[in-house]
Each structure stands twice: as C-alpha cells, then as structure tokens.
C-alpha cells in the first residue's frame, strides 16, 4: 500500500525520487485542479465562489491545526482564537498603521505565531488532557481579550476593514478575491509539504511517534513541541487575516470554542497527519451545511417537512449533521477522507485484483 509506483516509472536521481507528488499524473492532476479553480469565476455564481473562498482560508487554518495535532501529536482546542487574533491583527495593522493589506496578511501570521508560541510554552511540558486544558485557557483568555481590548478589536461594535489591494488591483469581489485565496492556499500548502520532507518536519513526526528515541537522535523535544504551536498559529493567523479581508468585518463574537471544535472536526474528517486531507476536511465542513440545506429544501412542503418542521430547525440540523459526521468518521474511517481517497486510487491501480 505504501509504495504503489506504477510499472515503468523509473527514477534515475534522488531529486526525482524526492518530489512531493508520487507520480507524474498526480502532479498534472494538481495543476488541472488549480486551473479549474482559477476558471471558476467563469462558471460559478458569487455564492458558490464565496464557498470556495471559505474552503480556502478554512483549509489554511485547518492545515495549521493538522501540523499541530496530526503531525506533532499535540492537542489544541483554542485554534479559533488564534484564527480570530490573525483577523483582528490584520485589520488593526491596516487601520492604525496604514500598512497595505497585502503586507498585513503575512504580518498577522507572524504576530499570531508569536502569540501561539507564548501560549504553546506549556506544551513543552504538558501532554494529552493537561495540554488540552492549557489550550482551553488560551481560547478563553484571547476571547476575553477580544471583548475588552477596544483599541484592537473595536469592542462590541467589531472592526470594519478594507479589501485586499495590490498595485491598484482591488480584490473586493468574490471573483477577484478568489485568486488571492488561491495563491495563499498554494503557497501555504506547498510550504507545509516542504516542511514535512525536511529536517524540522521529520523531527515533529518523530516527536509524535516515539519521543524517547527522538531525543536520542538529538531532537530537542521542548523546542519542537513549542515550535509546532508557533507554526500552527502562523497558519491560523494567515487564515484569519484572509477571512477578515473577505468579510470586511470582524466581530468579537465569531471565534468561540465551537469554532475551535469545528477546526478539530475538519482535521479528523480530513485525516490526521495528511496535508491534502486538511483541505478535504475544510471542504467537507464548509459544504456539509449546504448539503443539509439542500436536503431540507428538497423536502420542503412535503409530508416530512410538515411532520418535523424542517424549515424552522435547519440550524439545529446543521449542528447535528456536523456531530454525526465526526462520529461516523471516527467509527468507519478514523484515518479520514485522505485515506479513503488513497484507497480509491489504489483500487483503480490494482483493478481487477484486490491486492
């Protein structure tokens, strides 16, 4: 399973053998995928493009959480707070210091990474449930900070911000902002894929799989455990900043613990320890409510609708669907969508044999 190179695929240099994509076809498939998304404004309406943008910035934040939870084996239930911190930082930087939005977004990532490192310091010593509680503290401290620091967040009124602008090109509509998010997704995902095939990425996985022998290999456990918090927060900050300049309004009430749990859900559904799985999980989480909505619409007016009063309980149905999806995945596909996708690919490669 691990090594399914197609026949005739010979590599004659280490460089060829160390690419991110296992085969030429998977590389081509990715370029086609990017091209399709880039062409999406031609075919899709604003609402559907909005969903794609949502998948993009959620996917970036989810990837951050996956680096922390899936690759390093830590836990965080405060990811939404870091996401929010990135959103506010970018908005604040732009309004207070008049820094161009294109620069605000990476700066927000760096600022969030620093906050993440600060809240990640307990991770150097804590593990499992104890660490979960420590990150829960981060969630509430940051939420409280958002509510009180009026200079930073605009308080209860929230903060209005400006759209993305680069050399006079204003990305203030879905059709244009999509390209900003697409670029960010490609850069951040390539960055993560590269991280995982170099020294520090391997060290993170080593810390997860067997920390005692990782230490004997010369790996500084405290450093890498904290670093993974920094990297996760960096991704959350970038995702949050992209969110802020998409909605053009950041509310202090958006970044609750429920949102954090949703991020965890994305990572679990997508596949722990899988880079593309994070994007799949984010897509699943964004599209699931749409699916529930579509189902309710289809039943509208019918006997089922009248009996269960679906129209009025749609918001509860969404929450229940998310909960049910997480439970079903944990039972039937604990390795997530990414693993299922691999099995589908293996099936076609091996057809008509089963092994």
């Amino acid at each position: 399973m691990a090594d399914l190179a197609p026949a005739g695929d010979y590599r004659s240099s280490y460089r060829e053998d160390m690419t991110i994509f296992p085969t030429r076809n998977s590389r081509i498939a990715l370029w086609i995928g990017i091209l399709l998304v880039a062409c999406a404004p031609l075919a899709l309406g604003r609402y559907e493009l909005g969903l794609l943008i949502n998948i993009g910035f959620m996917g970036i934040a989810a990837l951050g959480l996956n680096i922390l939870v899936g690759f390093t084996g830590q836990i965080s239930i405060g990811h939404a707070a870091f996401f929010g911190f990135g959103a506010f930082t970018s908005a604040w930087l732009h309004e207070t210091w008049h820094i161009p939005v294109a620069l605000c977004i990476p700066l927000a990532g760096v600022a969030t990474a620093l906050v993440g490192l600060l809240f990640g310091t307990p991770a150097a010593r804590l593990k499992g449930l104890y660490l979960a509680i420590a990150t829960l503290a981060a969630q509430f401290i940051l939420e409280d900070f958002f509510a009180r620091a009026q200079w930073f967040t605009g308080g209860v009124a929230g903060r209005i911000t400006e759209p993305f602008e680069l050399f006079g090109w204003r990305a203030d509509r879905e059709e244009s902002y999509l390209y900003v998010v697409l670029f960010a997704v490609v850069v951040m995902y390539a960055g993560a894929a590269n991280l995982m095939r170099t020294r520090d990425g391997r060290a993170l996985v080593a810390v997860r799989d067997h920390y005692l022998s990782a230490e004997v290999m010369g790996i500084n456990l405290a450093y890498y455990r904290t670093l993974s918090f920094g990297i996760a927060s960096f991704y959350a900050g970038i995702g949050g900043a992209l969110y802020a300049h998409y909605l053009l309004f950041v509310s202090v009430e958006a970044f609750t613990i429920l949102f954090s749990i949703q991020f965890l859900g994305m990572v679990i559904i997508g596949g722990l320890g899988s880079i593309m799985g994070s994007l799949m999980g984010a897509a699943f989480m964004v599209l699931l409510p749409e699916l529930v909505q579509a189902g309710a619409d289809a039943l509208a007016g019918g006997a089922v609708d009248r009996a269960l009063n679906l129209g009025n309980s749609i918001s509860f149905l969404r929450e229940m669907a998310i909960g049910a999806a997480i439970i079903l995945f944990l039972i039937f596909e604990p390795d997530g969508l990414a693993h299922r996708w691999k099995q589908v690919k293996a099936y076609w490669k091996l057809y008509p044999y089963s092994h």
Partner: protein
C-alpha cells in the same frame, strides 16, 4: 558456541568494503587499532551507581571501552545492563559516579546533545517512528547533521534545503545498501517484520555517524539466519566503519565470538570483565548464570566485600 557467528567472524575478513563510501565514516576510521592492545578509552564509567528510591539498579560500576573494540555486557535478567546503557545514552542520570566520553565528562549532559558528540544507540524494544517511511526514519538519524530548519525548509527549492536533502539522501542510501534494506526503503516502518525493524533501527543509529554505538540486544527474537546477518553487520561496522561497539546480548555464542571483551553484571554489580574465554571460565559467572548462591553477590544491600 554458535556455528553461525563463527562463520560470520570468518566472513568479515572478506566483506565487501568497496560498497562503503569512506566519506560516510568518521575521519579516524582509516586504520582501526587492534583493540587487544589497550587502546585509549573512548568511554569510561567511574563508580557509577543508580538508585530508584530503595532499588539499586547499579552499584559502583567501573569499566572502560577502548576505541575500536566490540565490548559486550552480559548478565541475567534484571542485572542492570540496560540501565547501564541508559546512563550512557542519557536516559538516566547516575545517582553517583561519572561517565566520560572521549575524555569529556558527560554525566550531566542533556540526552539530545549526545548525538552530536558521537553516541548512537538502538533500543531493546523497538523504538522506530512507526508512521514514517524507512527512509525518513534513517533521515531522522541525521538530524544533528542537517542545518536547514523550518525557515529554509518551507521554501524548499530556494535556500539550499533541497541540495542538503539530496546530499544526505546519498549517504543514507549507502547505509541502506550496507544493511540490505533497499526493498523496504519506502515502506512504513511500522509495517515491517521484526528482523527488518531491528535492521532499520541499526541503520538509524548508524546515520547519526556515531563514534560509539550502543546496541541493546540487537539479536533478540531473531532466527539463526537473521542473527548471522546481524553479527556480520556488527563486525563490519566495527572493522570497516571504525565504530566502537558496546553491546548487550543474551546469545552467548554470538557474544563470545564477536566480542573483544565482555563485562558481566549481576544484581547491579560487576562480577567480571575480561576477554570472552576468561569470562566463560570464571566461576562467579558460571554461578550467576546457573542461579546458584554466590559469595560475591549475596546481598544487594551490603557491600559484597563486607
């Protein structure tokens, strides 16, 4: 005495050194000294004691491992062999006594810093990174030799991370060739058979490029053929790669065949240290292994010579 290891002893002379790149060896590997003449000590334990509360795991152990030798520690279960190796690799801190490596006191040196000064080890119960490929496992061994962290690792193609990875991949492939694990290099370590995992663990320890390699029961649970192979690898490591080897092993045949010197522990005390033939003839050792009462180690709470 096992015929297998006797054979491997003969094989090592004819072993193929051509496949091994000299660059992968420590600089001083060119001429392995004959360890039977007392060479300089690479590792010295001085009156090491280790206590866990009231339990004495080690009591006043002193020994030296000379540069270029194969040094084995044997003893019954619970004798403190692994505790001793853990003290050297930094897993435990000795309660008393000192450990010197290459003349430097490393008793209190952080575990993670010992890789860089040249101490590598394998574990008794496999300690591979199960969800990583064999290649990645071995590359983790090169952690302390790599310079590109996340900062230059994320923009892989710019900044030299790729060149460094390829350079190190080349050296890792030499280790893979040496241990004959080419066919599983892309397999997940957790899916391998026991004997292969042991080999991958040895590969990972070699990738550290250590001067001293600590092997905790490298042949436990192996069949005769796998043991033969492992004995040959250990001898090649010693003779061709110039590594000093400290080994814990229960297979007396192997130990007696490939070791230059043997130390025997029992109840956390050293009861013998000598060449294999002499150790085998030692009456205390025979009693320790036969389980009879012995006047040297009658009670762990009193000094033996009281």
């Amino acid at each position: 005495m096992s015929a297998a290891s006797a054979r491997s002893r003969g094989m090592m002379r004819a072993s193929v050194s051509g496949s091994l790149d000299r660059r992968a060896m420590p600089a001083d590997a060119a001429a392995p000294p004959d360890p039977r003449e007392a060479g300089p000590a690479i590792l010295a334990a001085e009156h090491v004691s280790l206590r866990f509360g009231g339990v004495r795991a080690l009591t006043d152990i002193s020994f030296e491992v000379r540069k270029g030798e194969v040094f084995s520690i044997i003893g019954p279960n619970g004798a403190g062999k692994t505790s001793m190796v853990n003290c050297i690799s930094g897993r435990y801190r000795p309660t008393e006594g000192r450990i010197r490596f290459g003349g430097r006191d490393i008793t209190r040196l952080a575990t993670r810093r010992r890789a860089a000064i040249g101490v590598g080890r394998t574990f008794q119960n496999l300690a591979l990174f199960g969800h990583m490929t064999v290649l990645d496992n071995i590359m983790v061994g090169r952690h302390h030799l790599l310079r590109h962290g996340f900062w230059t690792g994320m923009p892989y193609w710019i900044g030299g991370a790729q060149a460094e990875e390829i350079r190190n991949r080349r050296e890792v492939e030499e280790i893979i060739d040496f241990l004959e694990i080419q066919h599983v290099r892309k397999a997940l370590a957790g899916t391998l058979s026991y004997g292969l995992r042991k080999r991958v663990e040895l590969a990972r320890a070699i990738a550290l490029r250590p001067q001293l390699i600590l092997l905790d029961e490298p042949m436990a649970g192996m069949n005769l053929e796998e043991k033969e192979d492992m004995a040959r690898y250990i001898l090649d490591l010693n003779e061709e790669w110039g590594m000093t080897i400290l080994m814990i092993e229960h297979d007396m045949g192997v130990v007696m065949d490939i070791s230059h010197r043997v130390m025997v522990l029992d109840f956390g005390r050293k009861i013998a240290e000598d060449e294999p033939e002499a150790v085998l003839a030692d009456p205390h050792v025979r009693r320790a292994y036969l389980g009879e009462a012995d006047e040297v180690v009658h009670d762990i709470d009193e000094p033996a010579d009281a």
